[in-house]
Symmetry: C2
Subunit: 128 residues, 2 copies
């Protein structure tokens, strides 16, 4: 199961809301992503059908185990890319985040692995 950018952004947003409040409200997702409430409803139904979120009609939204794994993976990718851009290009945090947010949906696993390696070796440098 591989989602597109749109669904990945919904999942990532739910993850962040859960971490802050223990659960996600549709209206908060809508605000964060700057989409309408009906768009959130539709997306949540798709995520639910595919087993990524738990949700009753008119109820709050939580990630399933599967959904948690997936969204953590995306968020981890996001963080790694952001650090990579900061370190290799000297981008400011906000600029790195902005670009990472787009890149996280499109880069290959080979590139992601290379970023991990890059950051590990940079970490070593930091210890000198």
């Amino acid at each position: 199961m591989k989602f597109n950018e749109s669904m990945e952004m919904y999942l990532e947003t739910i993850l962040l809301l859960e971490e802050n409040h223990g659960h996600a409200h549709g209206v908060d997702i809508a605000k964060k992503l700057r989409v309408s409430k009906p768009s959130v409803t539709k997306a949540m139904n798709i995520l639910k059908e595919n087993g990524f979120v738990n949700k009753e009609t008119y109820g709050t939204i939580t990630l399933t185990k599967k959904g948690l794994e997936y969204s953590k993976k995306i968020y981890s990718t996001h963080t790694l890319i952001s650090k990579y851009l900061e370190k290799s290009l000297g981008l400011k945090r906000i600029e790195a985040t902005k670009n990472a947010c787009k890149m996280e949906h499109v880069i290959s696993t080979v590139m992601l692995d290379a970023i991990k390696t890059y950051l590990e070796s940079e970490d070593k440098d930091d210890n000198y």
Copy 2:
């Protein structure tokens, strides 16, 4: 005037075909981008309406000055990103190109400038 990924890919493809054959045929664009002929026709009409290509009905396609500038800019971005990925992550050419092809449509101008700076300093290193 800012195009989306789809139109940018059409423009980039036309540029490459023009460089190889002096002009682009719809059928070749379709093959390169793996889309149908009608999709190309539609895209070409949009590009023509916006002054990016010259084309008569049933005629061949060439870039206008505006179209040439735009597509060269995208292609240049593509090349810079690809080099950056090769140098900073050690990606192989084909892997770098694959990722650059996605990234070229989404990165910010600030990031692109940072890549240019990065590559310039790397060039200097090469001369030691």
